[in-house]
């Protein structure tokens, strides 16, 4: 192919368009998030409950964002928090981590550090031993994205 000015412009324009759509698809859609949520809850609608999600309002570096979850619970054999799932709406894959607690945990509290690709909502869903689900979400502003690329 002769690289004339016209073919070059068309090619670069379509490459730009492809790059734009490519980067759009690299982020999870809300459908992916809802699917992950549904798989976890088994279709149950999570309500409000004694679940706290702690994230910074502004994360300067998306590569390492501290996140902490706390569920108020007596943590006995009959009444405890089974697990808490953390999801990120705007990441290429919505799943972040799932913490599994037991009656030996004493307190349903856990922290880790996560990657965030861009400014987005972070969602935490708690599964209780009686089958209840609680959900809470926080917005985190990200200055520098953390998913490479």
């Amino acid at each position: 192919m002769n690289l004339t000015r016209r073919t070059f412009l068309t090619a670069s324009a379509s490459a730009a368009v492809a790059a734009f759509f490519g980067s759009q698809q690299a982020f999870a859609s809300l459908e992916d998030l809802n699917k992950a949520l549904n798989d976890y809850t088994g279709g149950a609608e999570p309500g409000e409950g004694p679940l706290t999600l702690t994230t910074p309002e502004i994360a300067e570096n998306g590569n390492s964002v501290p996140v902490s979850v706390l569920v108020e619970s007596p943590m006995t054999e009959d009444d405890h928090v089974e697990s808490v799932m953390i999801l990120a709406e705007g990441n290429p894959l919505p799943d972040v981590a799932t913490f599994h607690f037991s009656s030996m945990s004493g307190e349903a509290k856990a922290s880790t550090r996560m990657r965030l690709a861009k400014t987005q909502n972070v969602v935490a869903v708690a599964k209780m031993s009686n089958g209840d689900f609680y959900k809470v979400s926080n917005n985190v502003k990200v200055t520098i994205g953390g998913c490479g690329g």
């Binding site: 894959l93 799943d95 349903a108 550090r113 996560m114």
Partner: protein, 106 residues
Amino acid sequence: MAKPRIKIPKKVAAGDVITIKTLVSHKMESGQRKDKEGKVIPRKIINKFTCEFNGSSVFSCDIDPAVAANPYFEFKAKVEEAGTFKFTWVDDDGEVIESEKEVALS
């Protein structure tokens, strides 16, 4: 693989809820990044972390690529008796990092 770092009290009173902090060095390659030739760098992350006390599970975590490099976990445990905490990290290639910490009653 690297030696994990674990912060845990050596002596506790029976019935106390203690805080355990763990950190292990691992690149946590997300499988999203590309190298200079534009090829995707294959995913290699720690996908499971567990903590057991005297053989029964206290805390565990399923990990996805969105957990930051050098994964850090902080969690609680209720200690009723003296014993051993066993920590296990498993990565995508099946490599296992294990560590144990003794806890005595004061």
